[in-house]
């Protein structure tokens, strides 16, 4: 039965992406976003010179790959679909920098690439995100899909609440498919997410601040 739910989640994701699916701001805007999920903890500070591009520092301490990555990440809003009651986005993310393995083997050239898509109304959110990492000694490809519902519609500046379900696929992990129910709270320039990954018995805490 759980596999049916997973299949449904992946199918929804195929139509349309995750918390960090806001990698580009308005022209002149800054954003800081941090993800913590037990596999890695990341920090991305970026500036958007236009409404379709952003560039900034990305650093990730990846316990799963036993590596710390530090570099520059460029994000491109490839396409946005603005409709009267919805918005869809397709993003490209490219990062280049250095990976510093825990074993002290020395820094290596490293990079990452990702595609993210999302579609949302004020009630429904669906997203899909794929990310490939090459950290010198280790490579990985991971997928994440989300489906979210807002129990009520809030105005600008009010507290927005979303109940979401995230399904991830990490081919190399002991549990390749991981499901994380999470709560997203969003008001003004601040977005916070808290969740719990069932298969791995670990917590998720993400936040974004835009200024």
């Amino acid at each position: 039965m759980p596999s049916k739910f997973i299949a449904a989640g992946l199918a929804l994701a195929a139509l349309a992406a995750p918390a960090s699916a806001r990698p580009v701001s308005y022209a002149g805007g800054w954003t800081v976003m941090q993800d913590n999920n037990g596999m890695y903890s990341s920090l991305h500070l970026h500036y958007s010179p236009t409404a379709t591009d952003s560039i900034g520092l990305y650093t990730e301490n990846n316990w799963d790959m036993d590596t710390v990555f530090t570099g520059l990440q460029y994000n491109r809003l490839v396409k946005r679909w603005n409709a009267p009651k919805s918005q869809g986005n397709l993003y490209l993310k490219l990062g280049a920098g250095a990976a510093d393995p825990y074993d002290g083997g020395g820094q290596r050239a490293a990079g990452l690439a990702g595609l993210a898509a999302d579609w949302e109304t004020r009630r429904v959110f669906v997203s899909y995100d794929v990310r490939a990492r090459d950290y010198g000694t280790d490579q990985s490809v991971s997928h994440a899909a989300r489906f979210g519902l807002a129990p009520y519609v809030a105005g600008y500046g009010d507290l927005h609440t979303w109940a979401m379900l995230q399904v991830e696929h990490h081919p190399e992990a002991d549990n390749p498919v991981q499901v994380t129910p999470l709560l997203r709270l969003f008001t003004g320039p601040v977005l916070v997410e808290a969740g719990y990954t069932l298969e791995e018995d670990r917590f998720l805490l993400n936040w974004i601040y835009r200024f």
Binding site: R22, V24, S25, Y26, A27, G28, G29, Q34, N36, S41, T50, A51, T52, L77, R80, W81, N82, A83, P84, K85, S86, Q87, E120, T121, R122, V153, G155, Y156, G157, H160, F186, T187, G188, P189, V190, L191, V192, F203, L205, W207, Y209, R210, F211
Partner: protein, 112 residues
């Protein structure tokens, strides 16, 4: 566990620091008190607070603009101009696009 305590504290501090910014949304009443021209822009793609914040930040940089209010329910952006100042449709459309959204139409109320 300590890591999560630190992160939770960081998130709490971030939210506290954001306090003044959260007070930023203007009410239509505030926006319409201006005696300059009042413009309503109908915009596609406004679904969240980041969208509204983008519009406000971009328009508030303009010297002609006295106040901006975003209504997510109706997809309307209400712009109060400073007395004696205006912006043409092309300039408003450019700012909406710079914010990341799409303009569909504009209505104007003349200055009092």
């Amino acid at each position: 566990m300590n890591l999560f305590k630190t992160l939770a504290l960081a998130a709490a501090l971030t939210m506290t620091a954001a306090g003044p910014a959260l007070a930023a949304p203007e009410t239509p009443a505030t926006a319409s008190k201006a005696k300059g021209e009042f413009v309503t822009a109908y915009v596609n793609g406004l679904v969240c607070d980041f969208c509204a914040q983008s519009i406000q930040k971009v328009f508030k940089k303009e010297a002609a603009v006295k106040g901006v209010h975003v209504d997510l329910d109706s997809g309307e952006v209400h712009i109060s101009m400073n007395p004696g100042q205006t912006m043409d449709d092309a300039a408003i459309e450019k700012l909406i696009r710079k914010s990341g959204y799409s303009l569909t139409s504009i209505e104007r109320e003349a200055a009092e």
